[in-house]
Amino acid sequence: MDFNHAFAIEIVPTILQALHTTLLVAVLSSIGAAAIGFTLEVTRRSGRLAGYAMRFVIDFIRSTPVLAQLYFLFFVLPFYGITLPAMVVGVLGLSIYYSGYLAEVFKAGIDAIHRGQWDAAKALGLSGFDTIIFVIAPQMLRNIAAPMGNYFVSVLKATPYLAVIAVPEMLGSGFDIASDTFRYAEPLVVVGIIFLFLAISIAQLVRLLETRLNAAHNR
């Protein structure tokens, strides 16, 4: 079972057909994770009790593997009458899982903002909501572009887990080819290289964004 280059090239188009699912899941999950994570973190700051509750939620999410969470959402929730399509479970699962991490990133990003910014916003009579949206969030974004980008790469890399709940993403299509042809090395290596390429492209984009952001507001 040597590595067959011709075969490897031959299967690229088939695997690329699953690329759009992988990218769609990755993009939607990234957006979902950022939105949920930001909400978690802002709620955590809103009061003492909410703070402890959200802290626990965040820690729970972070302390369990994404696979276990996906199994749970996919196989257990239906017993309580919630049967969501596989794709929705996949996007929801990855969003929830990475929201736990992004909440931490947002925390660091917000903590790094000088306390005087809150003071100044308060002193100008801005409401809490306006302060977060117009003063804190834009500055936070600049602080966290790099770590947030890293997590977007992680979301991408986590899409193969969705194979376990039957979402037709790239690794799954790789396995399909493997089980059709019983050649494993080629599809997996091809899928691996595509992932590596995507991950590095995203990382590079983030780096570009970061330098642009830094150049725009260099202190």
């Binding site: 100044a120 801005l126 409401s127 306006d130 117009f134 500055q139 507001h217």
Partner: protein
């Protein structure tokens, strides 16, 4: 919430009575009383850690006091609430400027006008340009704070506060983060505000400024107001030993 305060007096801009403030176990303010008339210019000084910043931060509710009452323009400050109305009627300028780095100078000046005071965009810009001209940086309006010198940044911060058309301005060591050459720019602006009759409460160690514009100097130590006097009297014959010592130290390091 106004027990301890006399009935509201239309001539008073700020009244505080019996303020006590603790950080955990540490008491930063001890029974502070303060009355500021409209148009009065107050300079607060005192050694580091004496509670000057804490006092003026309490006045617009950035810190809440555990004891005592504060009234601004006759309205009582509700502890723990978001006293938006009162905050909008008091402008505050910080030691470290605290401009919003992601907004241009003009946007810094219009944000709160539009979001908090619901002025139209055009009106806000017009007002902002007026005050930026007032502090002589109208030509920097489009720049970001990071592109300005320290003195220009502080003047932008003053303009931002003025845009809210506050009755009273609070300054917390507005020049102490500046290079010697830039201090003067900012003091000049403050002197001209004082000359216009703005109510001002200013924490500063710039004794030249205090001498020139202050109606009253308040000297604090260990969370208390220790001495309160017009500048002529404060500088020439401080009543307490603590103030005497403080003046000696602060003046001795410069020689003319």
């Amino acid at each position: 919430m106004t027990e301890g305060l006399p009935p509201a007096d239309q001539n008073l801009a700020v009244e505080a009575s019996g303020l006590c403030k603790w950080f955990k176990k540490f008491q930063a303010l001890r029974d502070v009383d303060l009355q500021v008339r409209r148009g009065e210019r107050i300079v607060i000084c005192g050694p580091s850690g004496s509670g000057k910043s804490t006092l003026i931060r309490c006045l617009n509710g950035l810190e809440t006091c555990q004891q005592g009452q504060i009234r601004v323009n006759g309205r009582a400050l509700a502890p723990g609430k978001n006293n938006l109305e009162i905050r909008r009627s008091i402008g505050m300028v910080f030691q470290s400027f605290n401009l919003f780095p992601h907004l241009s100078v003009l946007q810094n000046c219009t944000l709160a006008q539009v979001r908090a005071q619901k002025r139209s965009k055009e009106e806000a810009v017009e007002i902002a340009r007026h005050y930026l001209a007032r502090v002589k940086i109208i030509d920097q309006a489009g720049k970001f704070p990071s592109q300005l010198s320290g003195g220009q940044q502080q003047r932008a911060a003053i303009a931002r506060a003025l845009c809210m058309k506050p009755g009273t301005m609070l300054f917390d060591e507005p020049t102490s983060a500046l290079d010697p050459e830039m201090i003067k720019e900012v003091l000049d602006v403050m002197v001209s505000l004082a000359e216009d009759g703005m109510t001002m409460i200013c924490v500063t160690h710039e004794m030249g400024f205090a001498r020139k514009v202050a109606d009253r100097i308040i000297f604090m130590d260990e969370g208390r107001i220790v001495e309160e006097a017009p500048p002529e009297i404060f500088f020439s014959s401080p009543q307490t030993r603590r103030a005497q010592l403080f003046l000696d130290q602060i003046l001795s390091s410069d020689v003319h």
